[in-house]
């Protein structure tokens, strides 16, 4: 089977579900709105980091990205629809690759646009407090933010394929990001810096100390994502549909 028709079919699946398009819109709306608010609330904090403040909407926004990745896969398990999909495309590896592609591309595109819009919106509020940001730092932040949102969507997609359930994925990831990572991550350095979300967020900061750095941090998140996707693909290929 050729890859292109499979890709077209999977892309059509995303486009024809309003809820999936809605979560992508939510990524943009939540991230931009919270970044704009952060920009308005000022820069009095001694740890103030103008780049992270401008992109801080990602913290709530990533929930929508995770929901997008999880739902894009979980809709297949709805009413055993996966059987119909795999009867149409029995090469499961190829099918999953197409699925991953149609999650990655729109998530990255929306992520980049979102990051850019967030930066603009927050800087409007921050005014001169953000003047120290160089063009390179801002470009790094925007690109890194887009890639980070894509990786989180894919991480959720891989987990959903592994668990065969969007509910299970969301009830695992959302508390993890909101509670575990947030609380433990602030308390201690070291190993928590290598959690999938913490590592990837280094790229959103103007200043950072020690390991991992912005790109190595994203690479750590990418490794987590790759592991989740491989586990999902393994489950899909091995198990009865």
């Amino acid at each position: 089977m050729e890859f292109t028709p499979v890709l077209r079919s999977e892309w059509l699946k995303i486009r024809t579900l309003r809820s999936l398009c809605g979560t992508l819109l939510a990524v943009f709306a939540a991230t931009t709105a919270f970044s704009a608010l952060a920009g308005l609330s000022g820069s009095s904090d001694p740890d103030f980091d103008p780049l992270f403040t401008s992109l801080s909407g990602v913290m709530p926004g990533q929930i929508a990205a995770i929901a997008f990745g999880a739902m894009a896969v979980s809709t297949e398990y709805h009413g055993n629809g996966i059987r119909l999909s795999l009867a149409a495309v029995p090469r499961r590896g190829r099918w999953f690759a197409a699925k991953v592609t149609v999650i990655a591309v729109p998530a990255l595109a929306v992520g980049l646009v979102t990051a850019f819009a967030s930066l603009l919106a927050a800087r409007a509020g921050l005014g001169s407090a953000a003047n120290g940001l160089t063009v390179a730092e801002q470009a790094r932040g925007v690109v890194g933010c887009g890639v980070y949102l894509m990786l989180m969507a894919l991480f959720a997609a891989g987990l959903t394929a592994l668990l065969r359930s969007g509910v299970a994925t969301l009830s695992l990831l959302i508390p993890f990001i909101l509670v575990v990572s947030f609380v433990i991550g602030d308390a201690a350095g070291g190993i928590t810096d290598f959690l999938p979300d913490r590592a990837g967020q280094v790229v959103l900061h103007e200043t950072y100390d020690g390991t991992p750095g912005p790109w190595t941090g994203l690479a750590v998140t990418a490794l987590w994502t790759a592991a989740a996707l491989l586990a999902g693909a393994w489950r899909l290929r091995r198990r009865d549909a």
């Binding site: 059509l12 024809t16 579900l17 709805h78 009413g79 629809g81 119909l84 149409a88 495309v89 009865d240």
Partner: protein, 306 residues
Amino acid sequence: MTSIDVRDLTKEYGTRRAVDHLTFSVRPGRVTGFLGPNGAGKSTTMRLVLGLDRPTSGAATVGGRAYASLNEPLRHVGALLDAHAAHGSRTGRDHLRVLAASNRIPVRRVDEVLEETGIASVARRRVRTYSLGMRQRLGIAAALLGDPGVVMLDEPSNGLDPEGIIWIRELLRRLAAEGRTVLVSSHLMNETASFADHLVVLGRGRLLADTPMREFIDARVQPRVRIRTTDPTALKRVLARHGHDAVEHADGYWSVHHARVDDIGLLTSAAGVPILELAADEGTLEQAYLDLTASEAEFTAPPQEV
């Protein structure tokens, strides 16, 4: 044309053996009814043919090839497994477009099958608003999408209204007449009798019968002749003389076992017995099926949870 070949197929889920050394073929040009009680392994066999489940041992092929090795499989095999497989938030038309795209089937076919299955008027409505009968028709539309040589339908008449049941019967007959291979599972005997030419019967995952439907019935149900007369005494006399035994029924007719209308008709008219009604009382698929399952010792045991 292509046939479905199942060879020594076995599938175990944990310790439960859903399909047990099953061997049969489904040939083109006729409708094969796939019978058996719930849990007999009909749906599992279909999933194994489609490569959705991995067999524990044995193999199932379509036209001599494993389903998973088919290029653009919807053009070879169309299947309806579950009417609820379509996502409720998509429109019926989008559901079919998605399937068509993956196998490079032109969108024109989408509109054709929507028309053919009688759901063109609701094609742009979300699937969640569909009745069970409409979902069933959408599932059949999906099966026909690639104009496949092999059609496999799991309980297609579920949820269909009376017109729908007549429609599916005619559709199945037509598909077979066009030379396609048609396998239709059901647990409704009268329904299956109305469209099947051939039967494959399963019980507890094993093959109980693989015969033409007429033979299946004739081998298990003795033919009878139903007869009404104004002169029972004369009738009994002439029948007794030729070694037949007539039994009287409460509502005024007689039935003659192990007999054919051709013989009884000639005998009675030669003897001048006045006849009001003379008919062959042919065995039904249901009688034959019950006879078969009764002879299977396992079925007389209390049903076990599967």
